[in-house]
């Protein structure tokens, strides 16, 4: 196990320099490297405004598309009516009966229609019913206002707890739960609730469909998973693999929000384009994007924890209810991850976890950074912190007595044979944040606080884990492929469907391959994410890009290197150009093979749920305004075990970004609903942190490599999201003495707890 940390803060170059907190070394400016790793490959294009996002692309003669959506949460669609006094010859309207293939959004089960058919059921607000296209936006706007839905309302279900439509359910555990509680000196119970949150990528969803001369369709857009879109396109338009082409444009953020939804949008654009025989642009505005696209699954998590006086957790009984929204989408997978992580990173002998994902008449929920784990781990860490308080044991110490170590067994009976860095991240974060010292200080402040105090400071800690890659046999079933080729012209090219959305795919892939081949970073190209060019490397999700696909390209590069060196008898770097000229190009395709010794049984849902786990610990400091309940998160230290740091700046960037999203989750991001419709449906009302809301974030990268991956990497994108929120809420408790069980821990909830007035309802409240 090797452990590295990011370099410490640099010292100022000139004594006259101003003194901000972290002063980078001025001498490194424009030297072409960022702390030893290459500069972002597509950085200059993004910085000069020349990177082309979907809406920047120009397609001469393109029409504009729009979507007519339901305005009720549950209804029978009786008809779609047009105003007679409008020139409909200037507009094309597409409905369900115009779909050449299956009227199904292809995901796990075939329950979601692309467009609600007449006679069918509207199951959520903002559900797509019809599509329109016109040559200009004014005509389109007018036409949309002149289409009406005729409906018959049906009774909606909004409360997931009472919903009887279950998408998936799980039950897992170990030991003897009754015996566990019998042995406990103390039992603590708690219910924790989290609502909908929006991924809020700054670039709205966008797709442009262009009919092909061969009768097929090319779709270019903002997306994470080209082959998901490809599959959906083929099915809806009844096209074969060659005549459906999907190209990723530069993508302005995804965070899971562009995992499933782009498939639906791509099909919408394609249906219009196919009908009119010209390109169609469908670029969402922010309001439509928030109103119609997937959100994080709301959850209600109940815990019952039995613990001994000495602080040993002896029993955990946990139940989770996840609100899937109107259609199944990926809810079973979100649920399984939430369930597996629900106990937190603790080795407890007796565990029982039950869970279900259910339907409500709200827009379907989907992937969002963490994918069920943040919800589950918020509850788990709240519970552990409350147990610590009840016992009078430090939250740090209580965790030390219960965390997983190598050899520990998870609720799916997985033995954690290697790569367990829970202790490491816990100690590193606590030390860097001076947790115990500051906790003592906040305790003294609390004791000395008078009734007239205006502010209160607090510190809180949370520990988390995140299974790397797909759950269970997902990776094996997918059989992802990635390739490295040496072209006849002597170019070295990576071919993978993994997308860049800011996390650094296009930088680390060439880095890994260049390293393997012994050539300079700039000598390695990466092919565009175009399904007619690259193989299906699987989706860019689940923090699998560096670990799984990165592993594939390393192996492919190794084989390429071996081949060339065998032919030429010389090192690759010296001989590859000559080899290309004489041999005429080589391509190595690497297909995913299951990691040795990693087995999962889908039937019993037991075994190695993940090849390895990543581990993280966050320590947050807050200052609470006691007059208004406003919370200023002053700093967060986040120690994250990513297996192996491939690029320190990019890895820190993931920790910093994920941490701020977790801070937003904990404090200001909230969606209220009325009649199943999101009320916070524009940026004025759906709030994410600004630069002055954001804390100082200190990312500490820890390495506990996974032996199954050639480079040891385990993934970094989602891990930080699992720990930030409970750390902040623990800090709020430390400052004020109040425990907030619902997210966000808004000023309304905090002031109600401090002031003793009526608290706001649970997250969401669909009335």
């Amino acid at each position: 196990m090797t452990i590295t940390t990011r370099p410490g803060p640099a010292t100022p170059v000139s004594p006259a320099a101003p003194s901000p907190v972290r002063l980078p070394r001025a001498g490194e400016l424009a030297r072409g490297h960022a702390r030893g790793a290459p500069l972002r490959r597509e950085g200059p294009a993004k910085l000069t405004g020349t990177a082309l996002y979907a809406d920047d692309l120009v397609f001469p003669g393109a029409w504009y598309g729009a979507t007519l959506r339901s305005t009720e949460p549950h209804a029978r669609l009786l008809g779609i009516e047009r105003d007679a006094d409008f020139d409909w010859s200037r507009v094309v309207v597409v409905t369900a009966e115009d779909i050449p293939g299956d009227n199904v959004v292809s995901l796990i089960i075939d329950d979601q229609p692309i467009l609600v058919p007449v006679g069918g059921e509207i199951r959520h607000q903002a559900e797509p019913v019809a599509l329109l296209a016109a040559a200009d936006r004014d005509t389109l706007r007018e036409a949309k206002a002149r289409l009406r839905l005729r409906t018959e309302p049906l009774a909606p279900v909004f409360d997931p707890v009472v919903s009887s439509q279950v998408f998936a359910h799980y039950e897992m555990g170990k030991g003897d739960i009754a015996a566990g509680f019998a042995a406990a000196d103390l039992v603590v119970e708690g219910t924790y609730r989290v609502g909908h949150t929006e991924q809020l990528y700054i670039e709205n969803q966008a797709m442009i469909a262009v009919p092909r001369e061969d009768g097929g369709m090319t779709v270019t857009g903002s997306l994470q998973c080209p082959y998901y879109v490809h599959k959906a396109l083929k099915r809806a338009l009844a096209l074969d693999s060659e005549r459906a082409v999907v190209i990723q444009a530069e993508t302005g953020g995804g965070f899971g929000g562009k995992e499933e939804y782009p498939s639906l949008l791509a099909v919408h654009a394609a249906l219009l384009a196919q009908r009119i025989g010209r390109p169609v642009r469908m670029i969402y505005g922010r309001h439509e994007d928030i109103a119609a696209t997937t959100k994080r699954h709301p959850a209600i998590v109940t815990h019952r924890t039995g613990v001994t006086r000495e602080g040993r957790i002896v029993a955990q009984e946990i139940d989770l209810v996840l609100d899937g929204g109107a259609y199944c989408t990926l809810s079973p997978v979100v649920l399984s991850r939430a369930t597996i992580h629900a106990g937190g990173p603790y080795d407890v002998a007796n565990v029982r976890i039950t869970s279900r994902a259910v339907a409500t008449n709200t827009p379907p929920n989907g992937a969002f950074r963490g994918f069920g784990a943040p919800q589950a781990e918020f509850a788990a860490e709240m519970q552990v912190n409350r147990v610590a308080e009840a016992l009078g044991i430090s939250p740090l110490e209580l965790r030390r007595r219960n965390i997983y170590r190598e050899g520990g067994v998870t609720p799916t009976q997985q033995v954690l044979r290697e790569s367990v860095a829970a202790q490491e991240v816990l100690e590193r974060a606590a030390e860097a944040a001076e947790f115990e010292r500051i906790r003592e200080r906040t305790a003294r402040e609390r004791a000395a606080r008078t009734a007239s105090a205006r502010t209160a400071r607090g510190i809180g800690l949370a520990l988390g884990w995140h299974g790397a890659g797909f759950t269970g046999s997902g990776e094996e079933r997918m059989g992802s492929v990635a390739s490295v080729e040496l072209t006849a012209e002597g170019a070295i090219r990576i071919l993978a469907a993994s997308t860049e959305m800011g996390q650094g795919t296009k930088t680390i892939f060439p880095q890994l391959v260049a390293d393997e081949l012994g050539v300079p970073y700039d000598a390695v190209e990466i092919a565009p994410q175009d399904t007619s060019i690259v193989p299906d490397s699987g989706p860019t999700v689940a923090s699998r890009t560096a670990m799984v696909v990165g592993g594939l390209i390393i192996k492919a590069a190794r084989r390429l290197r071996a081949q060339v060196e065998e032919r030429t008898g010389r090192p690759f770097a010296e001989s590859y150009l000559h080899d290309a000229q004489t041999w005429g190009g080589t391509r190595e395709d690497e297909r995913f093979e299951p990691y040795p010794g990693v087995h999962f049984d889908d039937e019993t849902y037991t075994g190695d749920a993940y090849p390895a786990f990543g581990w993280a610990c966050a320590v947050a400091e807050v200052e609470v305004d006691l007059d208004t309940g406003e919370v200023a998160v002053r700093s967060v230290v986040s120690a994250d075990d990513v297996g192996r740091v491939i690029h320190p700046v990019l890895a820190e960037g993931q920790v910093e970004g994920g941490t701020l999203q977790a801070v937003g989750y904990a404090t200001i991001e909230e969606i209220k609903l009325h009649d199943g419709r999101y009320l916070n449906d524009r940026l004025q009302t759906y709030l994410i942190p600004t630069a002055v809301d954001a804390p100082r974030i200190d990312a500490i990268l820890v390495e506990a490599p996974f032996s199954g991956a050639p480079h040891g990497a385990k993934g970094v994108g989602e891990l930080p999201m699992d720990v930030g929120a409970p750390a902040v809420v623990a800090a709020i408790h430390d400052a004020t003495g109040v425990w907030i069980h619902d997210l966000p821990a808004s000023p309304e909830r905090i002031l109600a707890a401090l002031d003793g007035h009526e608290p706001p309802g649970p997250p969401g409240i669909s009335a």
Binding site: V13, S14, A16, A17, P18, P20, R22, L23, P24, A26, E28, L29, A30, A34, L39, E42, G43, P44, K46, L47, T48, G49, T50, A51, Y53, D55, D56, L200, Y201, I202, E203, N204, T251, G252, G253, G254, G285, R286, M501, G502, Q503, V649, L650, E652, G653, E656, G657, T659, L660, Q661, R682, L683, Q684, I688, T690, A691, V692, A694, I697, A699
Partner: protein, 164 residues
């Protein structure tokens, strides 16, 4: 109606409706797609440009009010070099420090940062954060954006620092 704009030092005559958003004039009429639309309601700052040197959200500025004024966009930051565009010190600092991830907020962020640095205000962390408070970023947590602006300020300050 016809309006006159000076964009990145170049005069343009634009025949478009007076209520056209400056954002659309830049992106569609002038083909300068570097400035981005994130929300259309002036909340995210992705469309930030400099109007007579001051940051504004171009989604809320009608063409008739930009008439006769100078606009600076992200396309005006880099300079032309013999082998292609040369990044400005601010852009280079962002590249070095990792201030851009997905890049969609970057053009607007750069313009706000540019105006801040040009103002000569003391580049404390607090002042930098306030200067970019109207530019939302979802990827970076702002940490490396602030570092990049500090780095760029240092570069600017180096010209006038004693002994430099």
């Amino acid at each position: 109606m016809s309006y006159e704009l000076r964009v990145n030092g170049v005069e343009f005559e634009v025949a478009a409706p007076g209520m056209r958003r400056l954002l659309d004039v830049l992106r569609e009429d002038l083909g300068l797609s570097g400035t981005k639309e994130g929300c259309g309601e002036g909340e995210c700052g992705a469309c930030t440009v400099l109007l007579d040197g001051e940051p504004v959200v171009s989604c809320l500025v009608p063409l008739c009010q930009a008439d006769g004024h100078a606009v600076r966009t992200v396309e005006g930051l880099a300079t032309a070099g013999p082998q292609g565009p040369v990044l400005s010190p601010l852009q280079a600092a962002f590249l070095e420090a990792g201030g851009a991830q997905c890049g969609i907020c970057t053009p607007g962020m750069l313009m706000s940062a540019e105006a801040f640095l040009a103002s000569g205000a003391d580049p404390t962390e607090e002042a930098i954060r306030e200067a970019i408070a109207g530019n939302l970023c979802r990827c970076t947590g702002y940490t490396k954006i602030v570092e990049a602006i500090e780095l760029a300020a240092l570069g600017r300050g180096a010209d006038t620092a004693p002994g430099a």
